[in-house]
Homo-oligomer: 189 residues x 2
Amino acid sequence: MSAKPARRVKANPLRDLPLAKVYQTIEPGPVVLLATAEGGRANVMAMSWHMMVDFEPPLIACIVSEGDYSFAALCATRECVIAIPAVEIAETVVKIGNSSGRDIDKFAAFDLTKIKAKRVSAPLVGECFVNLECKVKDTTLVDKYGLFILEVVKAWQDPKQRHARTIHHHGYGRFVVDGERITLKSRMR
Amino acid sequence: MSAKPARRVKANPLRDLPLAKVYQTIEPGPVVLLATAEGGRANVMAMSWHMMVDFEPPLIACIVSEGDYSFAALCATRECVIAIPAVEIAETVVKIGNSSGRDIDKFAAFDLTKIKAKRVSAPLVGECFVNLECKVKDTTLVDKYGLFILEVVKAWQDPKQRHARTIHHHGYGRFVVDGERITLKSRMR
């Protein structure tokens, strides 16, 4: 596994995503990436166990277990970025899931673009169509279940990736890609 | 709103779903139904805020707020059923989400089939392709966030609804339906 040179941190080409709309990106249950940075070293993992907890400020719960290499960085820095990848980079997402930050620099190995975040030390992932800067808000259930509650403090969307189709994990590398869009008369927010 | 007579409780035509496979049904983030029963009165709500917490026994976290009519029944009985609907009944799902058990008997009003569960008092929803019988395991974060941790104690699948396509909520009645299936070489469970 030859380590490629890490790409430079890129200027931010992303656009504001209003915090009140964040839930619309997490609620559908896409596979996401979780980026952390500790001591100047960034890492990223793939994650499907997450849910919305509140609309605004947006609160997100997620499971990061002690066995995940990202666990220590998330506990120490109490910051992370949740980045949402579209189907076009599904193979990279799986590579991220198959490897550990213990062994490699995943940003370098998978040629991911780091973009400097505004409110947290973890980097935004340039290839993702949504990036959510998060602070750890509640660790009550971390010891028991690895359950973190995060507050989204700043959100970004990529104007070049409108109508991005996400992927949804069904176990063992089987994914379902977003299909048809339908609209029904709902009073639900 | 004229109340139709409630349909009889139907014999169970469903098949066992192994507990170890339950996560594959929740992880992709579908809209689900949450059925409860208190004092012989069943109710059902639509829910998108849920996630897996552990593989086996399967633990699921979900948000049911104090404003939801189901909240009281869930707290009192500490039991529920999570039922997963396919796109064919999306309109019914939205009607369930648009109404409250305070005002109507939703099982009767929307002609839903109650099937007697094995381990909990809440009914299975006959129209759904997966039904998960759950007991409330942890209420530590209920007061703060409405966050319940449920343990799935028995799971069912409908053999007549293989390859069911689920719906994923993007806010305000906009849904994305499951599309293409892809398989990538993953070491992830």
